[in-house]
Symmetry: C2
Subunit: 337 residues, 2 copies
Amino acid sequence: MKKKEPAITREDVVRTLVGQRRPAVCPAGSAFAPSNIALCKYWGKRDEELNLPVTSSLSIALENLGSEITLKPCTKWDRISLNGKLLASDTTFVQRATAFLDLFRPAPDFFFDMRAKNSIPTAAGLASSASGFAALTLALNELFGWKLNRRALSILARLGSGSACRSLYGGFVEWHAGAARNGMDSYAEPLDAVWPDLRLGLLLLSEKEKPIGSRHAMQQTRATSPLYAAWPAQVERDLAALKTAIRNRDFAALGRTAEANALAMHATMIAARPAILYWLPSSLAAMRKIHQIREEGVKVFFTMDAGPNLKLLFLRKEQALLTAAFPELRVVTPFGR
Amino acid sequence: MKKKEPAITREDVVRTLVGQRRPAVCPAGSAFAPSNIALCKYWGKRDEELNLPVTSSLSIALENLGSEITLKPCTKWDRISLNGKLLASDTTFVQRATAFLDLFRPAPDFFFDMRAKNSIPTAAGLASSASGFAALTLALNELFGWKLNRRALSILARLGSGSACRSLYGGFVEWHAGAARNGMDSYAEPLDAVWPDLRLGLLLLSEKEKPIGSRHAMQQTRATSPLYAAWPAQVERDLAALKTAIRNRDFAALGRTAEANALAMHATMIAARPAILYWLPSSLAAMRKIHQIREEGVKVFFTMDAGPNLKLLFLRKEQALLTAAFPELRVVTPFGR
C-alpha cells in the first residue's frame, strides 16, 4: 500500500508564496476587484482545503461592479465593516474574512481594520465573495509590501474563495484547474480578447441570502448527484467551445454554450439527493421569457450561478429592446462603453 | 464485419402474437384502462419502432382515472371521437390511434368507429396515452376475439405507447425492460403488494398540450444531454430501492426515491441541448411549498412527468392537511378507499 502523503494546508501555500510573516510596511492597503460571472462554471472541488477545482472554468469580469477593500492594522481586535456597517463576529462574512486574515497575521496580537464596500448584493449568487477575496488579497499585498505578481495573487485569492482567483483581472478570464497537489498550477489568467459590443444584464430576482451556500451545494452535488459524473467531461467541451466562440467573436455560440453549461450545472444540483433548488418561480418565468424573446429572433442568452438570479448575455444593438423587456435589468459593459 | 440483421417491425410483433388478421367476431369491443404514474420513470428508448425502453420502470395505477374505449367496425372511414366530440383526421390523437389501428385491420377497407372517453386531461403529462392505448388494446382483443393473456396484451399496448404496457393492471406495476430484439421480454407485470393507505394527489397546473411531446423529448434528451449517460444506472438503483420500500411499506423511502428519480429525469432534460423545460413557475412554486410542508414534519413527496403538473405522494392520515394546503388537489386512492 502506498503511504498517504501529508495533506497540504493553506498555511503551506502562503509560506511558499509570501515567506515568513512580516509586519505591515504601509499604513494601509486599499484595492478594488471586480466581480466575475462564469460562462463555463466552476462546480466541484478536488481539494476542499485549497479550493482546487475539478475542472477549469472561464469567466467575464463585471467592470466596475465588485468590492473595494481598505485594510489597516488595528489594536485589540479585528474590526470588519461592510458598506459602512460594523459586522458582528458571528456573521458568515466576518468568519470567512477572519479565517483568511489569520493566514497572514504577523503575530497573534495583530488585528485588522477591514472596510469593505460591495457594489453588488452580498451572497445572492452574484459572486461577491469572489470580488471580496480578490480585493482583500490585493489590499494585503499592498499593506505587507509583498510585491507579488498576479499569478501568485491569484493563487492566494483562491484560498479565500475558489472563484476569487478569477477576479484579479478584467475581461475574459480562464482559471486553469491545474493538477499539482499544492495547487501552484491552479490560477487564473486573462484571455487576450476584447469585445466592446458584449453586454451583460443582471436580473436580480432576490437579494436574500441563499438557502445553501455554494461551497456546501458543490460538496452535496459531487457527493450525491448521480448525474455529476458526466459534468467534468462536458465542462472540457464547453470551455473549448467558448474559447473558440470568443476567438471568432461568434456571439450565438458563446451565448448558447454559456446557457447550456449553466443549465447543466443546475441540472446536476436538481438531481442531487436531496435536491438543491436555487430557482425561484420568478427565475423560471424569466428563463421562459428569454426563450420566447429568442424565438422571436433576438440573440439573448442567460447564465445562472448558485442563486436565483439570471445574468443575460447580449450585444450592444439589443440593449434597448432588452431593457424595455426587463425594466429592472442592470446592464454591465465588461469592456467599457 | 457482422451482417446487420433486418429491423423488426411492429407488424412482425403483431403477427407473432395475433397471427393472421381475422375479421371481427363481436359487434363491439369495450374496455377501460387506468392511467398510471411512474414512481421510477421510463425515459429513453433503445428501439423507436417497438417502444423498447433503455431501462425498466415502476408505476402505480390511478384507480378509476383513465380511458374507456368502445370499438366497432365502421364503413367508409375511421370515425374517432374523444369525450363525445368527433376529431379531425389531422389531430395528433387521430393520427396516433389510426397508425395503431392500421396494425390490426383485417382488410384495407376495414374501418373503425372508436369512441374514447378520458377521465383525465389529454396530453398534459397525465399519461392519457398510456391508458388510451391500453384500453384500445383490450377493446381490440374483445372485438377480434383474440383471447390473449395479459402479457401479450401488454406487449401489444406497448407498440402504441411505451407506458401503455403498464396500464393493463391496477396497483403497483413493473415494466421489465427486457433484452430481446423483438421485445417479447419487454412487458409489464403487477407487483404483489396492496397498500390501502397510499394516496396520490393530482395537482393540475396546466391542461394545455405540452410544448414538446414525450417521445420527442426522450429522443432529444438521449441524443444531446451530457447527463443522460448517468441515468440508466441510477434507474436500476432507484427501482431496487422502490421495490424494497414497497415490500417494507416504508413510505418515506418510497416518496424520497420517487421524488429524486423524477427530479433526475427532469435534470437530464434541463441539460439537453437545447434544454427541455417542462416546469412552469407554478410547478416550481408547488415544489417549494411541498418541501416547506415536509420540513414541518409532514411526509409528502412529489413526482412529475413530461409536463408541468405535480403528482403528490402521501398517506391517508395526511390527506386532510394536504387538501387544505392545496385546495385544487384531486386525491386518488390507488387501492380503494
